[in-house]
């Protein structure tokens, strides 16, 4: 029988977990409408039973996913603690600072004539932005981002070398947790206007968050704040280098076309490729009855190429409008908190790049091997050096 959902065997155990007995398979959700429908029905498809495609030890998930792997009402309360910092209005308030940082990054890259675009440009703006928001001191930022990176690259052999992946992952998580706990303790006594200060003084139902809860929050913000914008920046530059007609169109009217271009950058990159939900009750999909407890994996990249949702989805089109991609999720309570922030950063960095070094070209990217993040590990770029 043909139906647009399919059932698969469980994903490969990338961490070498202890024998877990019989592992259940999962349903693959690959169509745009289905990704949106499931994302918007948390009553039937919950996040509290885990959100990652691949399995991981429960203590790892608890220490790293925070409200991402929660359902209402706890999810709403925890997310609510930081959501005000990410609203379009609040992001507009810090936009000038983001633009100024983007200008500095591109001006520092300009004299080099090229190199690894990820290190030179793509990685830097999200690192500065989210670190400023959380309140991570300058001296600790590289260390924090390196550990955050490891949490989403554990499926790539380069990330762990000869060591067991679970050991590398545990070490990265420990680094982040320890750092977050120290920062939280400092901000308890020395409050500032950053997110960490807000978290340590926040109350839910009359109680302060525990340090492990704050640390998990920190891990989530560090990972989500760094990875997705960075990789979208790299994929977008590569797309502009390959699709020269689209690049010319954008450069012809940068101010007028940047906003729609950014939406296409996100659709094209689809930086987060999967999240999982679990059925909370018997659910019928296309005549198929899914019992409670079934794993359901949402494939965002596939939804963003769905021929039934996008006209000519394989065409990179910076004028695509409307462009209702699911690059930030399919809506519902887990829609990406940082969507406005990501859009603002992408507009800022490409506004500067295409003005200051308009002839920048990217080579074929070296991609991360991952079912979670559509990551670019390295990507050579070149341009005419400018003083």
């Amino acid at each position: 029988m043909r139906r647009p959902i399919s059932r698969h065997d469980p994903p490969e155990d990338i961490l070498g977990l202890p024998d877990q007995g019989e592992r259940p398979g999962y349903w693959a959700i690959v169509r745009y409408d289905d990704v949106r429908r499931i994302s918007r029905d948390p009553e039937s498809f919950c996040s509290g039973e885990g959100t990652q495609f691949a399995d991981a030890p429960p203590e790892f998930l608890e220490a790293s996913l925070s409200f991402l792997a929660m359902d209402a009402p706890r999810h709403s309360k925890l997310r609510g603690l930081v959501s005000s910092a990410f609203t379009p209005r609040q992001v507009a308030r810090i936009e000038e600072g983001i633009r100024s940082n983007a200008r500095r990054i591109v001006e520092e890259a300009a004299p080099t004539g090229g190199g690894d675009f990820v290190e030179l440009v793509a990685k830097r703006l999200p690192l500065i932005t989210i670190s400023d928001m959380i309140g991570v001191p300058d001296a600790d930022r590289e260390r924090v981002v390196a550990a955050a990176d490891l949490l989403v690259t554990a499926s790539d052999p380069e990330a762990f070398g000869d060591r067991p992946p679970i050991e590398v992952l545990g070490e990265a998580l420990w680094t982040l947790t320890e750092f977050a706990t120290e920062l939280a303790a400092y901000r308890e006594k020395n409050p500032s206007d950053d997110l960490m200060s807000g978290l340590v003084h926040a109350e839910i139902d009359g109680e302060h968050l525990t340090h492990p809860e704050i640390a998990a929050f920190f891990v989530l913000l560090s990972v989500a704040g760094n990875d997705t914008t960075r990789h979208t920046t790299s994929h977008a530059l590569r797309a502009l280098s390959v699709h020269r007609d689209q690049r010319a169109l954008l450069q012809e009217d940068l101010d007028g076309r940047l906003a729609t271009s950014v939406e296409e950058f996100i659709r094209w990159a689809s930086p987060v490729m999967t999240f999982r939900r679990t059925t909370t009750r018997e659910v019928e999909l296309y005549g198929e009855t899914l019992p409670a407890g079934e794993k359901v994996v949402l494939f965002y990249h596939s939804a963003n190429r769905d021929e039934q949702a996008f006209e000519d989805p394989w065409r990179f089109d910076i004028t695509r409008d409307p462009n209702r991609h699911v690059g930030f999720g399919g809506g519902g309570p887990h829609y990406c908190l940082g969507a406005s922030l990501a859009r603002t950063q992408l507009r800022s960095i490409f506004g500067e790049l295409l003005t200051v070094i308009p002839d920048i070209e990217a080579q074929e990217p070296e991609l991360l091997r991952s079912a979670f993040i559509h990551g670019v590990k390295r990507m050579e770029c070149s341009f005419s050096p400018r003083a």
Binding site: I5, S6, D9, P10, E12, V30
Partner: protein, 53 residues
């Protein structure tokens, strides 16, 4: 660590009426070029068979 091997053989999306020999949950699949993965998803969107063993 347990590793699975899967042979990834694709046919053109327009021609695919049978299951490509692909395991969506294997790391090998996620190490394939994006174009090949995209082709498989296009096939899944259209055909979506039961692939569990």
């Amino acid at each position: 660590m347990r590793r699975r091997r899967s042979t990834v053989t694709f046919v053109a999306v327009s021609e695919a009426s049978h299951s490509p020999d692909v395991d969506l949950g294997s790391l090998d699949f996620w190490g394939e070029p994006a174009e090949e993965r995209d082709r498989y998803f296009a096939w899944l969107r259209r055909e979506a068979p039961d692939l569990a063993s």
